[in-house]
């Protein structure tokens, strides 16, 4: 048990080190030794806990996706659903996504990196497919209370997620405040109810 914890601890430490590295360099340009340096461990350790650089990447992507999904679940759990009207709840959800996901620049940078890796790596692509499919589904089930046509609801859900990801992309390209991303998101958040 203690052993297992040490292992998991070390693995996490390495994944967090990669996370930090990716704010500076691309995964490709981040060397195993870079990650080891940031993690404060010997580079050999990384090969002890992972089978190779790709294995680190795959575990890292799971970690990132799990992390933001559990953040979402956690937030949802902390909400007192009884106090909201349906529309009010959607407004809250959108607010959460805007501020914690889309406007989280560091997270967005990571995702742009992952998108690029997915271009050439089927396993990574699968992980993204799954993550986005789930997201689309959950948004769809939420707005389906407002839209009868189920197909249309799903399409709207896809469009919304695409929009958010596009905005997240812009947040990595434009300096903070320069494009007015925050205003666009806020405007969208408050009008979506009417639009639906």
């Amino acid at each position: 048990m203690a052993r297992k914890n040490v292992q998991e601890e070390r693995k996490l430490q390495i994944l967090k080190a990669l996370d930090a590295c990716l704010q500076e360099k691309s995964f490709e340009k981040t060397s195993i030794k870079d990650i080891a340096r940031v993690a404060g461990v010997n580079h050999g350790v990384l090969h002890y806990y992972f089978t190779g650089k790709e294995d680190i990447l795959l575990n890292y992507i799971d970690y990132v996706i799990d992390d933001y999904q559990s953040q979402a679940r956690e937030w949802l759990g902390s909400q007192d659903l009884g106090t909201y009207t349906k529309s009010g709840f959607i407004d809250e959800v959108f607010g959460f996504i805007n501020n914690r996901i889309t406007l989280n620049r560091n997270l967005s940078r990571i995702f742009v990196e992952i998108w690029e890796i997915a271009l050439y790596n089927g396993e990574v692509r699968s992980k993204l497919q799954e993550a986005y499919s789930r997201w689309v589904e959950e948004m769809g089930s939420m707005i389906s209370h407002h839209i009868e046509d189920k197909v249309f609801a799903r399409n709207v859900s896809i469009a919304m997620v695409a929009f958010w990801e596009g905005m997240a992309l812009f947040s990595t390209i434009f300096p903070q405040g320069s494009l007015g991303i925050e205003e666009v998101l806020k405007g969208f958040q408050h009008r979506i109810i009417e639009i639906l």
Copy 2:
């Protein structure tokens, strides 16, 4: 003058070779020799025409952005503007963007690659800022005929471009036909008029 043209010809040949390479591998994994092989030239000439690998990249990005912008201009020039109502014209423009830009998988792959490079390369980021700013502006001026509030028009324009880029991203992540990207875009194209 002739000399200049030969030089430009050669450069273009190299940039097109890089374009082909990027459908197979990331820029990082594409070697100078890969590009030279596809271009059918000796790898030494790449260092004659460009100062280094990064210089090739920078020129390539200019080439890609110029290329799709001139495609757009060309398409616009080929349209007989007199035959359209305002709404009809917007519908046509959206159709063009959907089919020629957003649903152009090869182009989308290139852009995902460029987004990632821009994360860590300020010069590339500047090029993207400029390109997206211009796009947002042009869309904005187009829809401003339908929306009085200029700030709102701009925000809608940003949202639309973000949406398109998000959809382009999805087209690189999901296998063709699996997410229903085409339907979402078509639906969006025909409803946007009403929404505005």
Copy 3:
């Protein structure tokens, strides 16, 4: 005493594991962890029982040589010497060597491996010198009943051992049955008497 036996038991277990490993990989490519895995022990214990990888090798070679020499002694002990004519006995001995030593492919593989190690390792070379010297001597004393000239008897003995080792080598190079090694050995076995 019991302690000693446990230790010897463990050592033997490790040497047998190396034996199994050498059917798959060269000694150089066999890692300490490979041996430990096959032995079913933690790799740390290998450094407890032996001073290092080379020490394991040296002990292993002793084990292999002892093993096949004791096999020979054991076989000899099981023979009822009284029932044989001198020539008949030689025929039996040759049959044993052919079938149990020379045609023992696994053993031959091990020896090819050891020959190579001996090229660059004087200690291993010494062990082989001793083993082959003893073998030559014993064959020599056996055939000396048929050959008066002692020098010639020794030379014939050397030639025979060289021939066997050459045939053993061929058995590792050629697929079973492809060269006709068995026939050559059998023919040699039955004619040697006449030749002598």
Copy 4:
């Protein structure tokens, strides 16, 4: 043409460097940098001319086998066949093999090394099969003038080659002069005629 020659020259230079290295260390322990150092070239060059370490090995083995086969052909060509009786010719051939092949310690060391590599490398094994098959065939056709039974002639040929290789092996294991290898070979050379 000049280009080709430079390439072949360099390749040969590298193969000869490996040859020198193998007198000191096993192929496995010989690093690419070792070879480069002995060849007096940058280690990158080795990857320029060969696809990897194994490619160097394979080319080296071809080089060694070709080399000693062309030595044999050259020697044969230099002999005035008219001056020999059949038996006298065989005596000469055996003398050549004894002195230039079997007693060539450096060559024998190389072959012991190659035998070991062949244990785990099918491509190398094939090369040895081919080389030994040809050798056996050629010896067989030579002695077939003295032996009517073709099958027996072939078996004798196999036995002789095996014997030579066994003696070559002994020359790498025993210090020069200690076992009396030279005498055994000489005795064998002069008696083989009678035996046949």
